[in-house]
């Protein structure tokens, strides 16, 4: 199990005093100290890890967030920001000596600005809530993580959330225009607005995906897009993962960027079909869902092109949706894949690496060997278009040692992703889950430069410590320059 930073005994001893001080900033009912009420916040989507927060604070204005942070900064109290708590990597895992700062009360859609094609929302608005606020105008918000009913925009910014459509439409970072954010010392900053591109350093670019380590987001301006006129999908079965992989490569090679392109392996297909009866073929090794969206003339043309590519790659079954109901049915099994796997195993552990797509068969073959080695089954769903792999490791937490085995298996899979030229996480974030694997992908100098960015925002490292980085370095120590006088590599350098 992962270790979290040692709790600060001085802070723990002052718990009651800190709670009383918070009650001077917030209404008393917004400061949660009772154990049974704090229990609600002890975990996020990474349920294997639990920790009761010291106190939970639920502000509802930017000014309150600012005052809470300023107070904590002055009193060396740690903060863990939290949206809906759907993180799959433990990004919102509480700290024993920290305040969990819930942004759930920030749930207003502040403005819909159609002429500028954007909406201004508070961070506690759900991802789907943004789309629901603009869909009567024929618009939508593009990133669509599968937790979109529950997850919030603030959390999406923190995690740079994606979804099944992000190869074509981008992730959160490509779809936001402006932010209001509170720094750890209480300073409120505004970045961007309704215009494009940063004025100078692209702070929004680094805040997006920073996993709650740089600041607390209190307002987001998102871009909204006109809904595509049509969407149709193909459901294509293949006799091997290789032929499915070839089909994906050939679709991209033909210049086609589908709105969504998902792959499932045999165990995932069977679990999904048993659960939702979507009519998936059961005699195939791999199944592809390819969705084309856009103008009708384009979609009809590309459906035909993809059909030809699929057949040439050796498909053994191929269906094309002819109605919205049929298209949604193709997706039903894929969208239910996680709960479907949950039905065939007491527990499952969802991984999230990205690989170059060409390495897919190599990775799946090696994963089968690892599955045998660990004695744990694995089912795979794959955002095939962008190489983002979600292996689901099946285990039983009630069997002693099996969770640890599942974690070791998962770590081996992620190392394998890095080894073939990929990365540790495509969309779920590092959090606590992959924190200790960071040195497998990054050198000490790589990580130090990331932490230096952190130091510019939060020099006391009070915001969400223990996440993302395996080692806490003191900012003062990282700031020092190492003088190498006397061993100059270019002593006689000419000047101009």
């Amino acid at each position: 199990m992962l270790r979290m930073p040692e709790p600060d005994a001085k802070v723990l001893a002052r718990r009651a005093e800190i709670a009383a001080d918070l009650c001077a900033i917030l209404p008393a009912e917004s400061v949660i100290t009772e154990e049974n009420q704090r229990r609600v916040y002890e975990s996020d989507g990474l349920t294997a890890y639990r920790q009761l927060p010291m106190i939970v604070a639920l502000p509802e204005t930017t000014e309150q967030v600012s005052q809470v942070l300023r107070y904590c900064h002055g009193n060396n109290v740690k903060i863990v920001p939290r949206g809906a708590g759907t993180s799959l990597s433990g990004g919102a895992l509480p700290l024993e000596d920290g305040i969990t700062l819930g942004l759930g009360k920030f749930k207003k859609v502040l403005e819909i600005d159609l002429p500028n094609r954007c909406a201004v929302v508070q961070p506690g608005v759900t991802n789907l809530g943004v789309t629901q606020a603009v869909q009567h105008l024929g618009f939508y918000y593009a990133p669509d993580p599968s937790s979109q009913i529950a997850c919030t925009i603030g959390g999406n910014v923190a995690e740079n959330s994606g979804g099944v459509h992000c190869l074509k439409y981008g992730t959160t970072t490509n779809n936001i225009l402006g932010l209001e954010m509170v720094l750890m010392d209480g300073e409120v900053i505004r970045i961007g607005g309704k215009h494009l591109d940063a004025d100078l350093y692209d702070l929004m670019g680094v805040i997006c995906g920073s996993e709650g380590l740089l600041g607390v987001i209190t307002e987001v301006t998102v871009r909204i897009l006109p809904k595509p006129a049509t969407a149709r999908a193909l459901l294509i079965g293949f006799p091997s993962n290789e032929s499915a992989g070839d089909c994906v490569a050939n679709i991209i090679g033909a210049g086609i960027i589908p709105g969504g392109m998902e792959m499932m392996d045999r165990p995932a297909i069977h679990a999904a079909e048993d659960f939702v009866h979507a009519g998936y073929p059961l005699d195939v090794e791999a199944l592809l869902i390819v969705e084309l969206d856009g103008p009708k003339a384009e979609v009809d043309e590309l459906i035909e092109r993809v059909r030809v590519i699929g057949e040439a790659a050796g498909s053994v079954s191929l269906r094309i949706s002819n109605s919205e109901a049929e298209r949604e049915n193709f997706w039903a099994g894929r969208k239910a894949a996680f709960p479907a796997v949950g039905r065939i195993s007491p527990d499952y552990y969802c991984m999230d690496g990205t690989i170059p797509r060409a390495a897919l068969s190599r990775v799946l073959n090696r994963m089968a060997e690892l599955s045998e080695h660990y004695g744990l089954r694995v089912a795979n769903v794959f955002h095939a278009g962008d190489g983002n792999l979600h292996p689901l490791i099946l285990y039983d937490a009630n069997r002693p040692g099996e969770l640890e085995k599942a974690e070791d298996f998962g770590a081996d899979i992620l190392r394998l992703c890095v080894e073939v030229g990929g990365v540790l996480t495509g969309e779920h974030g590092v959090g606590v889950e992959k924190r200790d694997l960071m040195p497998d992908m990054f050198t000490e100098d790589d990580l130090k430069h990331q932490i230096r960015l952190k130091c510019a925002f939060d020099p006391k490292q009070l915001l969400n410590p223990g996440k993302v980085f395996p080692t806490l370095h003191r900012c003062a120590e990282l700031g020092r320059m190492h003088i190498r006088a006397g061993q100059m590599p270019f002593p006689d350098l000419p000047r101009f």
């Binding site: 600005d113 159609l114 500028n116 618009f139 995690e159 740079n160 994606g162 992000c166 981008g170 992730t171 970072t173 720094l183 300073e187 900053i189 607005g193 309704k194 494009l196 591109d197 100078l200 350093y201 929004m204 670019g205 680094v206 997006c208 006109p226 490569a249 991209i252 210049g255 960027i257 009708k296 003339a297 043309e301 590309l302 990205t354 797509r357 060409a358 962008d386 190489g387 983002n388 990365v423 996480t425 590092v430 960071m438 990054f442 050198t443 790589d446 990580l447 990331q450 960015l453 510019a456 993302v468 700031g479 320059m481 003088i483 006088a485 100059m488 590599p489 270019f490 000047r495 101009f496």
Partner: protein, 395 residues
């Protein structure tokens, strides 16, 4: 002019930067040098020329990624992409001729460092959105890498975004990985002739609110034209062009359609600010603003500040050539007008040495943001070696 430091690999670059940091030596950084005339003039002691860090390292068309030396010329990259019917979707701009130099000399590192994107920006994203991975040397003289060679990645902070648009003041890129995309098979441009600024911005907004996937929207008042670009598969282009014509029926005095060749030429000219190249003594401003504010901003500035300019990004980008007689090049009028109309920012892309020495070339920041930016600079380049003074702040 002599070119002194010209590293051929990242280890040498690291050693050179470490030495410069030791000497606390103000250093100007160049790739091909096409944008040297942008920014506050500096009195650099050294010139660090990265042009040898060039060449395509990996190109996997089916993975939609390319890894190159940071100083690889854009034309090298674009011709490799063209052979596979792919492109850099953000349409890298070429300010060479605008700034009095030759065309087609820029590098990928330069266009990323300045985060400069062409007319497709509002649909396809900016340069920074296609910047996936980097190996760089910070002002501390240390090599670090960030990002990756895959299109979807959230491992660690997105440091590529920090480097994009930092104008070489934080880190020097040695190798970069960029996302590439299929090039459109066909392109057409619908031209509405004879519109004023209000009608043009309204027509562009209507087109962009439709599902017809417009990939360029510009208004050129000198020729009285509103241009709407439609790209993609031929069948799709035909259908969307028809639908856009129906949507905008009756707008403008007349309408006509440009074919693929004419379209490409027109959009390249818009991208590279060709309409404002002459006369060369005019300061040229680049304003990013909320698109719906464009008519009001246009009316407030055209006349008092300058009389030539045009709109791109459906009004979200306003190019303005200022009168050469204005003491501040129009800076104060431009920035206060933006502030009064929904915000945005203005950068002086072309200006005389005298003008650039006196006005804020880059957008002035609110005090809190300015301080944060200074702290970032101090963490990455503590001795303030890289492009010292270029941003006009103490950074």
């Amino acid at each position: 002019m002599t070119t002194d430091l010209r590293p051929a690999d990242s280890q040498t670059l690291r050693d050179m930067v470490a030495m410069l940091a030791d000497r606390k030596a103000a250093t100007e950084i160049i790739g091909a040098g096409t944008k040297r005339a942008v920014g506050r003039p500096t009195n650099a002691e050294y010139l660090l020329d990265l042009s040898k860090l060039a060449g395509i390292r990996e190109y996997e068309p089916n993975e939609l990624v390319m890894t190159v030396g940071a100083a690889t010329p854009l034309w090298t990259i674009e011709s490799a992409l063209e052979s596979q019917s792919q492109m850099l979707a953000f349409e890298p701009v070429d300010y060479g001729p605008l700034l009095g130099g030759p065309a087609a000399r820029g590098t990928i590192g330069g266009v990323l460092a300045a985060n400069l994107s062409g007319p497709r920006r509002f649909k396809a994203g900016a340069a920074r959105d296609h910047f996936l991975g980097v190996e760089a040397v910070s002002g501390r003289g240390e090599i670090f890498k960030a990002g990756g060679k895959v299109v979807k990645n959230v491992t660690g902070y997105d440091m590529c975004k920090l480097i994009a648009g930092s104008w070489g003041t934080l880190s020097l890129m040695s190798t970069v990985t960029v996302k590439v995309l299929p090039a459109p098979e066909d392109t057409r441009t619908l031209v509405l002739h004879g519109q004023g600024v209000d009608d043009a911005v309204a027509a562009m907004a209507l087109a962009l609110q439709s599902p017809h996937e417009i990939s360029g929207a510009a208004w050129l008042p000198a020729s009285g034209e509103t241009l709407l670009r439609i790209e993609g598969f031929p069948e799709s282009v035909k259908a969307r062009l028809g639908a856009t014509q129906a949507l905008l029926a009756g707008q403008g005095r007349e309408q006509f359609v440009l074919d693929a060749g004419e379209s490409r030429a027109r959009w390249q000219a818009i991208r590279d600010v060709a309409p404002l190249r002459a006369p060369p003594d005019r300061p040229v401003w680049r304003l990013s603003l909320p698109p719906a504010s464009a008519p009001a901003v246009w009316r407030a500035l055209v006349g008092p500040v300058g009389d030539s300019g045009y709109l791109d990004w459906a009004g979200g980008l306003l190019w303005l050539a200022a009168e050469p007689t204005l003491a501040d090049g129009g800076a104060e009028a431009i920035r206060s007008t933006l502030a009064a109309h929904g915000g945005g920012h203005a950068t002086l892309i072309r200006g005389s040495v005298g003008l650039r020495s006196g006005v804020a070339v880059f957008p002035p920041l609110a005090p809190g943001l300015e301080a944060l930016q200074q702290r970032i600079k101090a963490n990455f380049d503590p001795n303030n070696v890289l492009n010292r003074g270029r941003l006009g702040t103490s950074a």
